[in-house]
């Protein structure tokens, strides 16, 4: 699964640490999500959606292999 979390984060001018704090995860988790090493749970995705004020599909995308 691909994502453009970094872009959304930049739009709100948030650092990884600030985003992590806002949604209640570690900075390592945000870094791992951005690098595509970790796929977050629905709860985290929904929290991000609420924070970015965007539907989940706008920052998480399925790949052909998914």
């Amino acid at each position: 699964m691909k994502n453009k979390l970094k872009v959304c984060r930049a739009e709100l001018d948030l650092t990884q640490a600030q985003l992590a704090e806002r949604i209640g995860v570690t900075r390592q988790a945000i870094n791992a999500i951005e690098l595509g090493k970790f796929v977050p749970s629905t709860v985290i995705a929904l929290k991000m959606s609420r924070l970015f004020n965007k539907p989940i599909e706008e920052f998480f995308f399925l790949e052909e292999t998914d």
Binding site: K6, T15, Q16, A17, G24, V25, T26, R27, Q28, A29, N31, A32, F38, P40, S41, V43, I44
Partner: protein, 142 residues
């Protein structure tokens, strides 16, 4: 967000690492021939007190260090925990298969008892390394 209720509190982690270090040091000393006292036993097989205490320290140290929460526990750490546990278990099975195929008698018993410790030690080492690598690889874009 809810996380596993079966993890020990964060305070156990440092106690675990201290016990683990003492356990490893004790076992190394015991391997070099140092020992004292006699552990309670059935009289057939003698076991030194240092070996018994070191083994206990190692097992409890691994339990406390590996199964206590991190200060910031989240689902990414849970994934690392899960993957480390799988790796440790695979290694344990590999050791067991190797023991069954290539060792006999007393050597087999030594190998299997080493495997009992190895699964815990590998889990703790793997988890600690992976969490440390994840922390180190952080690329802040502030």
């Amino acid at each position: 967000m809810k996380h596993s209720k079966f993890l020990l509190p964060y305070g156990f982690k440092s106690v675990g690492y201290v016990l683990l270090t003492l356990g490893v040091a004790g076992l190394v000393l015991n391997f070099c021939g140092v020992d004292f006292g006699h552990a309670p036993g059935d009289g057939m097989v003698e076991s030194g007190l240092l070996f018994t205490l070191s083994g206990l320290a190692l097992v409890l140290g691994c339990l406390f260090a590996g199964f206590s929460r991190y200060r910031e526990e989240d689902e990414y750490v849970e994934q690392l925990r899960h993957e480390s546990m799988l790796l440790a278990f695979y290694l344990y099975v590999a050791l067991l298969v190797a023991a069954l195929c290539f060792t006999w008698g007393v050597a087999y018993l030594y190998f299997v008892s080493f495997g009992i410790f190895a699964v815990l030690v590998v889990y703790v080492v793997c988890l600690t390394l992976r969490v440390a690598i994840a922390r180190k690889s952080l690329k802040d874009e502030e």
